[in-house]
Amino acid sequence: MKLSGAQILIECLKREGVELLIGYPGGQVLPIFDKLYDCDIRFILPRHEQAAAHAADGYARATGKVGVCLATSGPGATNLTTGIANAYMDSIPMVAITGQVKSHLIGNDAFQEADVTGITRPITKHNYLVKDVRELARIIREAFYIASTGRPGPVLIDIPSDIQLQETEFIWPESVELRSYKPTYFGHPGQIKKAVKLISGAKKPLLYIGGGVISSGAAPEIKILAEKIQAPVTWTLMGIGGFPATHKLGLGMLGMHGTAYANHAIMSADVIIAIGARFDDRVTGRIDAFAPGAKVIHIDIDPASISKNVKVDIPIVGDVKNIVGEMLEQMKKTPNTAEWLKDIEALKKKYPLKYGKDGDKIKPQYVVEQIYQATKGEAIITTEVGQNQMWAAQWYQYNHPRSFISSGGLGTMGFGFPAAMGAKLGCSDKVVFDIAGDGSIQMNIQELATCVCNKINVKVAILNNGYLGMVRQWQELFYKKRYSHTCITGPDFVKLAESYGAVGIRATKREEVRPAIEKALSTDNTVFIDFRVEPEENVFPMVPAGEAINRMIEGLA
């Protein structure tokens, strides 16, 4: 059967099980869009290519499937790049497809030409420029395979428009053969044995889990392990949901804005079991002062993550679900941690997360708590970046994997709203709430149109403080309150939402918070809630940059 490049692309997407495409048309993808006209894969047209990439990313995080986005050459492709880099930093499976100028024009500075494979090389797991239509099916198959296996990540396929039109015999490659790419899934038995022995003899073991637990689907194994060895569990921003936050062994997030008790606990642990986490600088603080007394077991699918930042005593490369499962099988003797858990309880009592609750002003933390209660902890929460993100991480209790979606590594403002859109498209039965700031929401606010037009009913809680709050907080604490260009104005968010056909609600007093949330939840439409919060509220605790993580600035009671 002879098919054109565009037809091959669509046929391959179907065979890969793609059920959602988010993309934006343009001159160099016209042949693809012509074929999409008759195609039954659901197609969503965003209002900006950056949002297409973030939505594909949000969809992937919420469902565990590969997110797919599509854009034209030149500016279409460059607009995708922030979203691709974002997915790369957080190891999110994504396939980005871009149109390219005709093969014979490549390198000629043609209209809307950009060297997209060159630009995206350091922000993709792999990328392809298709030079021959006969290679297209194999390349698409490889792209999905690479994106979704090993340490997941984005893969880009750049397809010149003449290749989209050329015809060839369509041959679906049944399997992928890449001699140079063979991820390790099973841990080395000797290393697992050593780890089990070390844990069995530990007095103060602690589990430190990251995004790898989510992508590997290892949350059930982590819970069994923690309960079996009676060890407290702390998590990174990416690891949120990998262990139930309301569990008595849960310590919350650690690091720069982690709980004080998680930070104190990891500093006094004698064995740290790091699982699918990478000892990021936001987690370790001053590296030479990090967990000085601990032996470190590090389980990760990416060998390059091991001993990159922290010296590891027992490295185990492989899929964390397999390895933790194997450890459970072998764990005959469990450590006695009764004393350690008493210490942990004492730390939790001494350093609770807190914020001032006086007056009828709206505290942003209170808004997040109320969203938690109103949604009974069952919503998918996405965040923007900054204070809103940290409060969303601290004050909502996440008990399920894939219920917290946030830009961790790259820290991309404008991520949360399109990501919420993608999450809702993937999980239509879930309530999806974007916890936003008034700065971040303005970075992809045009997606209101996409939400309304496609009835993607997401709820957006804008913690409106009139500042770029996290930067303002740093200026307050470390730059003598010189608020250089962090005071920001926005539109009337209620009227703006209404002008797009969405619903806008405003809350200015504490008692209006819960009713506003309830109203949003009962509204069958996209809703913006403009919460006028305390303008100079800070995120605490906070570890100043370059400090050891147990040297925190505490908040006011």
């Binding site: 494979t117 350091p122 001699r179 140079s180 390059a304 001993s307 990159k308």
Partner: protein, 157 residues
Amino acid sequence: MTRHTLSVLVENKFGVLSRIASLFSARGYNISSLAVSETMDPAISCMTIVVEVSEEKILEQIKKQLNKLIDVITVTDFTKKEHVNRELLLVKINYSAKEKARIEALLDKYLGKIIQHKEDTAIVEVIGEQQQIKQLLEALSQFGIKELVRTGKIAMA
């Protein structure tokens, strides 16, 4: 700083060199030399990369990051392996009848030879280990070096 020789087998596809080069620049690693050519199998190229690192940990990261690239097939570190290595040098020097005997004696010692001679200059070819080439260059500098080009090291275990 210590020097290490890595032999990297890669898929012989366009863009692979640039993937490797951009990995080094993005992560701030130093390449001191790079030699690339096809192997017996035309689908595979061999890159001999000499890197300079300040600590062992960075060398480990370089090897791991190279291995992560989809187009990289194997990475062999020759640092702790018995191996031979060679580099080719072409150097243009001042060559006068007066100095002829001294230059030729020097070239004999280093197994170099003159491959082109024009008026008062000569182009010398030498193949050797980097240390020998360095010594020869120091010795030749007394006659005046006008131009030089080196291939970078290649190695085999």
